[in-house]
């Protein structure tokens, strides 16, 4: 009984791990200037959410969360493919992936 209670409270605490990971990703997304690292921060945030979803699915005993995780992983892979393509194309033209150097659009 006590063990079960401990596990439940631990389940709640483990949410903070994923929220901390998400915050780290957010920090990276907002502060870093390198396009590749920004992309990695996006992935970190997605994976933090995946972790959260798995924990919730385990806690509530439903399977929908696990299914969603599989879909999120798949979509994240597709997103990285598209993002890397765009970044590669920009690198081909400018020889840099620094976000600060892309300032051609303004009005």
């Amino acid at each position: 009984m006590i063990l079960a209670e401990k596990l439940t409270s631990m389940a709640y605490w483990s949410h903070f791990v994923s929220i901390a990971l998400f915050a780290l990703g957010l920090l990276g997304f907002l502060t870093r200037r390198n396009a590749l690292i920004v992309l990695m921060s996006l992935e970190l945030m997605l994976n933090a959410v995946n972790l959260l979803l798995v924990q919730i699915a385990m806690r509530t005993g439903t399977s929908e969360g696990i299914v969603l995780v599989v879909f999120v992983i798949t979509v994240a892979a597709a997103e990285v493919a598209v993002g890397l393509g765009i970044i590669l194309n920009l690198y081909r033209m400018k020889k840099t992936v620094d976000l600060g150097s892309f300032r051609n659009l303004s009005g």
């Binding site: 996006l42 806690r59 969360g65 969603l68 999120v72 597709a78 997103e79 993002g83 920009l90 009005g107």
Partner: protein, 485 residues
């Protein structure tokens, strides 16, 4: 059973996907320019078939004949039925998406000349269209997420279509980063809602909201994240920073697609989330969000005042229109007719945006920049197209004989009836600011002469001319038939 329960309801979406797959196969057999007419025919066939299926299906769905005994169904079919709702709203939005796709395909075929990957562009447009349809008819959060991605990923590629143009690629990067960030926020919101309620079903979540008013920090965070994700997708201030850049850098026909169809799908999502799932809590969020949309209207209109590039001008104008549309979403709680006002606004705005960007693509054909001066004398050189442009501008400004006036009027009436009085007054005042910059464009059309003797705007390809004319006529037609559905 599979045909009746699965293939028939989903046929509008499937026809788009099928056309896209056929196009990809065709491209491997007939490479490049060969068989371009056939490929275009297949591409146009997708939305046409989709429109046909929708117009056959929606009366049946409204009569309730599609509802059958669910207990006999296998479990995967039950899951599907729960995650896809074909109702009056999704039927109307399907039709609009189909029409916008048709016009976009025509403009892409006419104006993106010299592009080797045209078939792939058609396929990407069709995939994005099927994603939009699934998004506006999503019944659970999993489908909502997948559909949003199916819509967004092809669009990132379409924005960066001109591979050797730095501005196009840069716009694609900005759109990609902001768009993926919105996706991440949405998934996080989904996770929080799932943790709170233990289900992904929109109806179930809405039902749980009805029985108890949640006060936890998790629900509040989920609400804020949903708002931010939707705000990013439809371009609401303060999440609008990507809009001018992405709209300016994207190839002009693609911008037309983004401003009409994607905005429509984004508002379909907003209606599903705010107008259906969160509707039981409307008292809590209606007033704060109405100030949010008024802020958007002001930001869009004020920033548009100082633009010199036409595409950027219309990007900011689209931000202000998003504000009006969101005011419509907010009034869904107070008055159910707001749904019709919203559909009407989405039709009118989508058609005027597509028509405008069709015209801008034509203006852009010879020289690449789109300063105001490029329009000098267009009204006299190309009388029909110039008049269509005049109609679009008057409509966007909301001048009475055109459809744009009625769309704004209906939205503001609905918002007023649902009790957002201060926001309505502010929104109406802000539309006065908008009139200034639309009239500035009109003055270039009719009151300045082109510097050189030869026509600065080339003759439009026949199909594109018809498309623009259709949009122009729609501006008049819709003003005589204000109640469309």
């Amino acid at each position: 059973m599979i045909i009746n329960e699965f293939l028939v309801p989903v046929s509008p979406v499937l026809s788009l996907m099928l056309a896209a797959v056929v196009l990809i196969v065709l491209e491997t057999v007939f490479k490049g320019e060969r068989g371009q007419a056939g490929k275009l025919l297949v591409a146009l066939g997708g939305p046409l078939l989709s429109i046909l299926f929708v117009s056959l299906l929606v009366p049946v769905a409204n009569a309730g004949s599609l509802a059958t005994d669910n207990s006999q169904l296998p479990s995967w079919l039950m899951e599907f039925k729960n995650s896809y709702q074909l109702d009056r709203l999704s039927g109307a939005l399907f039709l609009a998406i189909g029409f916008f796709m048709l016009l976009t395909l025509v403009f892409v075929e006419s104006f993106l000349t010299g592009l080797k990957e045209k078939t792939e562009v058609f396929a990407l447009l069709l995939f994005a269209g099927s994603g939009m349809m699934l998004l506006v008819s999503a019944g659970n959060l999993l489908m909502l997420f997948m559909a949003l991605e199916l819509m967004s990923l092809p669009t990132y590629i379409l924005v960066g279509l001109r591979k050797n143009d730095l501005r196009s690629s840069e716009a694609a990067l900005k759109y990609f980063l902001y768009g993926s960030f919105a996706t991440v926020l949405l998934v996080f919101a989904i996770a929080l809602l799932y943790g709170q309620f233990g289900t992904l079903q929109l109806n179930a979540i809405s039902g749980l909201f009805k029985s108890q008013v949640p006060t936890g920090v998790a629900t509040l965070a989920a609400f804020g994240l949903l708002l931010a994700a939707i705000g990013f997708k439809v371009g609401m201030a303060p999440y609008h920073l990507w809009v001018p850049d992405a709209y300016q850098g994207a190839p002009t026909p693609v911008t037309g697609f983004m401003g009409s169809a994607i905005k429509l799908a984004g508002f379909g999502l907003a209606i599903r989330v705010f107008g259906q799932t969160l509707l039981p809590l409307v008292q809590e969020w209606a007033t704060p969000l109405s100030y949010f949309s008024v802020f958007t209207i002001f930001v869009g209109n004020l920033a548009a005042l100082r633009q010199t590039d036409l595409k950027r001008l219309f990007a900011y104008s689209s931000i202000s229109h998003a504000g009006y549309l969101f005011l419509g979403v907010i009034s869904l709680g107070g008055s159910p007719q707001a749904l019709e006002a919203l559909q009407y606004y989405l039709w009118v705005y989508g058609l005027l945006f597509l028509g405008t960007f069709g015209l801008l693509s034509l203006v852009e054909m010879h020289k690449k920049n789109l300063e105001f001066d490029r329009l000098n004398g267009l009204g006299f050189q190309r009388p029909v197209l110039g008049f269509c442009f005049l109609l679009f501008l008057l409509s966007a400004a909301g001048i009475p004989p055109t459809a744009g006036f009625f769309s704004k009027y209906f939205i503001l009436i609905q918002a007023f009836q649902s009790g957002q009085r201060l926001s309505v007054v502010l929104a109406a005042m802000s539309s006065l600011i908008g009139v200034f910059y639309y009239l500035r464009v009109i003055s270039h059309l009719y009151m300045k002469s082109a510097g050189t003797a030869e026509a600065s705007v080339p003759r439009a390809p026949k199909a594109a001319f018809l498309g623009i004319l259709l949009c122009g006529l729609a501006m008049i037609y819709f003003s005589f038939v204000p109640v469309f559905f």
